[in-house]
Symmetry: C2
Subunit: 549 residues, 2 copies
């Protein structure tokens, strides 16, 4: 069977130190891959480019929270109940499958099972009795009185549970954004798509908090005439941000702004624009927390259109859930132009009744009652130490009073661009894999953008002459001192050394020859044009810095 591009890319990736299957010497496990030296460098470069867009340019701040996450957090966020895949087991050959993977495209699981159309891909047995399986890896914290926990399915919850602290850091101004880059986990039933469907993956997520009455990014007007590429499940179209929002193709300008930023980031990372589009989720595709979601999809010859980024409007869902579960004040404040005097209902607790009834808890209950919003009628319930306590009617009075208020509280809405770094990395390799001929022989190389290329410069002495080696090593050290990742190579013919560098996407190579000793110049060779120039050694660091950033 001829190799397809996936096979070719992965063969190169393994041979040259980009990607290795994890635990291979122990037989390997589906859904786990290691990044080798060049893969890690490429991944770091992609993540740092992402930081450039989201932190330096868009002014988000970055946080770093644990991957181990308490049960209570993920119960409140809905993941304990909703983060599932419909799964079916084969009674005959004992294989388990994700139903979505084995039914025909376009028909529902319900219909497929009703019509007895689901067969085991392994042994052909009819499959029935599908059931939802939670996809989080579970573990326990501590011993004896241990706490249940999961490995996080997304980095976002670490941001939401700190919202009140981060809002204070942002000096209580909206919009503001918080990002996190790190590992996410999904215990896939039976992953089968290489690095596209990992059980442990790298994510870069931004949670940007907006006032729901003003879902517009401050820089929206600067970019509103820019076009993005959308796919409406029938055809592709290019449309300006402004028109997309006006025509209600995209719900709000905040979402549109982050779609544009995503497109810009992906293109500058080296994604092929012809193999890029945004596709809107249908209602039945939406995650439990999202009101609207657009996927940035990248095309792979093996896998078709692959979801690499999800840009979701999570509305008030998550912060609202955590407020409900913990009674923490995680509201934002919408300031009035000038303070308003408003009529409010207040609870006046009666300690004479609360005291005997609740003993040492009475003081805390009094405080909670006094702070309580009571626009709802009906019975009063207080949440204390994780429990709901009903307060009898004779323990308090409700009075109407007027109060000066500087603003009104609300739950901010969240726009979330969530990036799957591994998928993007794979697609960048695939989109930039080039096969050509050189002197009649097969020649392959990676046309990686200099900004993400793992090695920026190859440095070679023309031959193994002590003087040339010394000069080449000095240049190599100077470049490394300037944070430029180089590869020093003195082995084999120059042609062979160029080929080695081309194959891993190195954009520039420098050769020191005998002439260099006299004229203090070296040859710099461009991967894509194969053009060679003589440049002065003196300005080499600055010259290369300009070329690779």
């Amino acid at each position: 069977m001829p190799q397809d591009i996936f096979d070719k890319v992965m063969t190169l990736a393994k041979r040259r130190g980009f990607i290795y299957p994890s635990f291979e010497i122990y037989g390997g496990v589906a859904g786990f891959y290691d990044y080798g030296p060049l893969g890690t460098q490429l991944k770091n470069n992609i993540e740092n480019l992402w930081r450039n867009y989201y932190i330096l340019r868009d002014n988000c701040v970055e946080v770093n929270t644990p991957t181990i996450t308490l049960y209570e957090v993920l119960k409140a966020s809905g993941h304990v109940d909703e983060f599932t895949d419909l799964t079916v087991d084969c009674k005959k050959c004992k294989q388990s499958y994700k139903v979505e993977d084995i039914i025909e495209k376009g028909i529902t699981a319900e219909k497929a099972f009703k019509e007895n159309k689901v067969k085991c891909p392994n042994c052909g047995e009819s499959l029935k009795d599908a059931y939802p399986v939670n996809l989080m890896f579970s573990t326990e914290i501590g011993f004896g009185k241990s706490r249940d926990a999961f490995l996080r399915p997304e980095t976002a919850q670490g941001i939401f549970t700190d919202f009140h602290l981060l809002y204070r850091y942002a000096r209580e101004k909206l919009p503001f954004g918080v990002v996190q880059i790190g590992k996410g986990y999904r215990n896939e039933v039976s992953p089968r798509q290489g690095i596209i469907r990992l059980r442990e993956f790298s994510m870069a997520e931004a949670e940007v908090f907006f006032d729901p009455k003003d879902k517009k990014h401050p820089d929206f007007d600067k970019v509103k005439n820019k076009e993005i590429k959308l796919f409406d499940n029938k055809k592709e179209m290019k449309i300006s941000l402004e028109k997309a929002v006006k025509d209600k193709v995209i719900d709000n300008p905040a979402l549109a702004y982050y779609m544009y930023l995503t497109q810009e980031f992906l293109l500058s990372a080296g994604v092929d624009f012809k193999k890029f589009r945004f596709r809107k989720h249908a209602d039945n595709e939406l995650a439990h927390y999202a009101t609207e979601c657009w996927d940035a999809e990248l095309f792979s010859e093996r896998f078709g259109w692959v979801e690499c980024v999800g840009i979701a409007d999570r509305s008030a869902y998550d912060i609202g859930s955590h407020i409900e579960s913990t009674d923490t004040d995680m509201y934002a404040l919408r300031k009035f132009d000038k303070p308003k005097t408003v009529q409010v209902k207040k609870i006046i607790p009666d300690m004479g009744k609360l005291g005997p009834l609740f003993k040492d808890k009475a003081g805390k209950i009094k405080k909670i009652l006094e702070d309580m919003d009571i626009n709802k009628s009906g019975k009063i319930t207080v949440r204390l130490d994780g429990k709901n306590i009903d307060i009898p009617k004779d323990c308090y009075k409700i009075v109407k009073t007027s109060e000066k208020q500087s603003g009104e509280k609300f739950i901010p809405h969240v726009i979330e661009p969530s990036f799957g770094i591994d998928r993007i990395l794979y697609c960048i390799l695939e989109h930039n894999y080039v096969e050509t001929k050189k002197k009649g022989e097969e020649y392959k190389f990676l046309k990686l953008n200099p900004v993400v290329a793992p090695i920026k410069v190859g440095v070679f002495p023309l031959i193994n002459d002590a003087k040339l080696v010394k000069m080449a090593k000095e240049i190599n050290d100077n470049l490394r001192d300037a944070d430029i990742f180089t590869y020093y190579d003195a082995g084999g013919t120059i042609g062979r050394r160029y080929a080695r560098m081309d194959e891993v996407g190195t954009p520039f190579c420098i050769t020191v020859d005998h002439e260099s000793l006299k004229d203090k110049k070296v040859t710099i060779r461009n991967r894509d044009t194969t053009k060679q120039d003589r440049i002065k050694i003196d300005g080499i660091v600055e010259d290369l810095k300009g070329k690779i950033s």
Copy 2:
């Protein structure tokens, strides 16, 4: 009770967005902390400085492997059996304790229990029946036929299990080093020291592979006269690397070289040299894999001397274990000056016997037998698909033959500098926390080295005038375009803004005033000297780049 420095640092850290307790709105769990915006920036800067030392300067390569690790890997590495803490439970109050934490310093656990000296710190009950508890978080991969796994206790095993691939990447030359930066996990029995004892922590580890016959770093001679600070459990001394190795204080030059690199890194990250030392592990302190280990200890007023880096000679332990468990060829080759002809014993398999006996496995067994080293006498065992198969004597012949060999195989030795990033980060905060007086009032600031400071430059318009704001924002954007992390602040008096920046360790502040509009100069103020200079806006990016790197 007056606050000690730990309380003060952690209060500042929480208030200003460095460090938050994780899951605080759900009551929190000991051993987990979040890095807020400034903490994450500080942590990233420390890690990137580390990369500078180990990757750009020392030529190591970086890899990135999963945190979830197969049971088999950690069984082979010894962690399943050896990564334990002696633990004791209180029968009365149900608390669990790490024995080491609750017995007197200087006496052994055995002695303490024998003399009935171990009391529950919580309720005073006598404690007995201590038992070892494995400290790895466990989980399962997949469903049904699931695989046992742990969260990695160190990043190192991901490097060791890829050694043969990485050795090929390094073009089969030793020494070469591989680093990994990422999360490690240790399910502490009852962690009680804040960020010093985390259950999920950040590590930076280097595994540097040496020929055991030549444990010398190529750059050793360049630094052999440099001094490092050692503590021999009695007194501190400064000693040159060369003398330390010659006097057998440190076992070999490779270990000594990496101790020096560690010292340099820590000092450049802002550790106080007076609060720094190397201490050698006593034999009973050594981890199961180490033959010699030096800790870089940093002094904390609250915690005393804290182990922040371990620099261990792991010898051939880990690679040897994985070879033994998997029969993978993970040897290195020591090339002879010229090929040698040597007498070897060879197995000649007899397919006529193997075929009927082993059927479809016979071919594979034949291949393994032919490649086998048989210097041992006794029965021949073949390892196939994870099982040992005894081969009957009549299935093969052993012949003596002569063979040309280009070199001899050996298991490389590993020198491992392993850094606990969180502890280093905390100690940097503590060492650089300064309390002083300003105009009679208490004034505190962080004297962080510019290279690790989370914010490099505060940018202020003197007053909220449109022209000044425009100019200040332009300068801010230009600095950010040049990857310099800034903080734009237009709120409150300049004094107040300086104070806010000083408190989080920002080394420089730039103020745009009315004069700036005319002379195109701004005031730059130095945190440590509080000196103010006028500098040209034109050269500001270059000027600051020089100051912060």
